[in-house]
Symmetry: C2
Subunit: 329 residues, 2 copies
């Protein structure tokens, strides 16, 4: 890998989370898939919000959370994603910059408001998400600066980008720029329902441009319509350079053409809210890889960052991750 000004560049849907505690009944009443992300339109967002309890607004977005985590670990991180120039958009931009992530995507001057995700945290600490994409659908290839992509060791793309049509073009433009510059292209499958929506295209991506794939157990099983995790892990082997498969409390498995590394989950005293677990795992892994750590170490950094974020309410790190990671060295 040649020298790079940026360790990790993330591209994703720029979203503000509205977190609330909720009973299972609310999740069921609105037909949301528990533990997963459902796309909703503006009227449905209004309907769910109107019956939700008081909320806490925090900048979110899967890939943005990962970039904030990587920056907290010491990576030079950057982010591309679209907000509207409204109050929530300004909050999103402030927060990601204040977390040390370079962020220069111009906000949309009109159209739909900044995207928001209603996050219902049930008493079992599971989070169910309902996302109104709003302004994030305005992200297009014109927002992807090829020089920025070429300057990043790793470009990390979220599968959710496949939902808004123009974002998909931005995604393809970024992959082309990263590939052309000999950089690493990383993809997270984001969500089992996202895999269902885009299965054949995601398989092609993994076979083609993707070097590093992140997926949890449900997502990888869905991608290959496998009968078991082990079968899915064998099906993905060799299709991309590195497949990183997360299994919640069972830890994670890193699969390459010739090797398999199993790494246990980091200890958590009490799981408060699983929002952001996958994002922060990716943050740790990407940080390790950008800094030249070996694969088991990358997985351990991922587990450690995920453990921190599930031990409190919200999807972005609160503790000093760099200090915690130092204990691993």
């Amino acid at each position: 890998m040649s020298d790079a000004a940026i360790d990790v560049l993330g591209i994703g849907n720029a979203i503000v989370d509205v977190l609330t505690h909720a009973e299972d009944g609310l999740v069921e009443a609105h037909g949301l898939a528990k533990g997963a992300m459902t796309l909703i339109d503006a009227p449905r967002a209004e309907a769910i919000y109107s019956v939700m309890g008081p909320g806490v607004e925090v900048s979110g977005g899967s890939c943005a959370n990962a970039m904030v985590g990587a920056a907290a670990l010491g990576s030079r991180a950057a982010y591309i994603g679209k907000v509207r120039d409204d109050q929530l958009g300004r909050i999103f931009a402030h927060d990601i910059r204040a977390a040390g992530v370079a962020y220069d995507t111009p906000p949309a001057p009109d159209g739909a408001p900044t995207a928001r995700c209603l996050v219902l945290v049930t008493p079992d600490a599971q989070r169910t998400m309902a996302t109104y994409l709003g302004a994030s659908v305005e992200l297009g290839p014109e927002d992807v600066d090829p020089e920025l992509v070429a300057a990043a060791r790793i470009t990390f793309l979220e599968g959710y980008l496949w939902d808004p049509p123009r974002a998909k073009e931005a995604f393809r433009a970024a992959m082309a720029a990263a590939g052309g510059a000999g950089r690493t292209v990383a993809l997270t499958l984001s969500d089992p329902f996202c895999v269902e929506r885009h299965r054949s295209e995601f398989r092609e991506l993994v076979d083609g441009e993707v070097d590093l794939l992140f997926a949890n157990e449900e997502e990888i099983v869905s991608l290959y319509e496998a009968d078991s995790f082990d079968e899915a892990a064998e099906l993905v082997r060799g299709r991309c350079a590195i497949a990183v498969l997360t299994r919640s409390a069972k830890g994670s498995v890193v699969v390459t053409a010739n090797a398999t590394h199993e790494v246990p989950a980091a200890h958590v005293e009490q799981v408060v809210d699983t929002t952001g677990a996958g994002d922060l795992y990716a943050a740790g892994f990407l940080h390790g890889l950008a800094r030249g750590r070996d694969l088991p170490d990358c997985a351990r950094l991922g587990s450690l960052a995920a453990a921190e974020v599930i031990s409190h309410f919200g999807a972005r790190p609160e503790a000093d991750l760099a200090e915690a990671a130092g204990a691993l060295a």
Copy 2:
């Protein structure tokens, strides 16, 4: 007291809090008074926000926090305060209603945006507040429905209302309506700097229309320019029916013409963030009083609600306060 449809009606500045962890250096660099509230204009709000860390947005406002606390304890609570019809205004309105507080003040259709308070929580768990009043200055007497005031056992006013000129008129209108209906008028002095700004007028209010006064140690000492807490407590005695004086870890003292009740603070495992302590103390006390509890019991309910809110980040209750208060019965 005759029958009332509402236990407590609060009138205050409607504010969204932007909470962040900060070092003491940031508080000093911006000339903010540590542990107190400083009023700032829009450019200064922008300047502080631009150097602040990532934030968490939560509906706030001293009096609104108290009403949410009272509702959580089981009171029928209502609130009057002004937001703009913008994203933060809609968040404020949603959250207070979702907390069970009746809220019908029409939002301002134009003018300044919804008020926000930058809350800097330093490592010692103290909070320093910088408030941009925004749309809350638009509150005026036309927003105070005399029938609503007459329907409330207690009308609770925050001293901060004395800052925006038209809010002061609203405050006076509410006091007149409450007095005319034979209801209880409660006032919190809000903040020692607020007392400095309006000392003589606050003294007149206490001598005249106020039945129930809330003040912490610094505020009551400042109000009477006393040399000690004990001196201030004697100076306020008999000026209003009940003076409730809070002393943080030293508990609270309830002073009437003929009696003094000292009540210890409730035990807190770890103080995380003192934001909202005074507001929630008032919530507990007001709830007790509206429900006919004796004064020491009211003070105990106040201590209990304050203890809950300082044990986590943010100014509104997270635990089931009614359940916790049940243990007192």
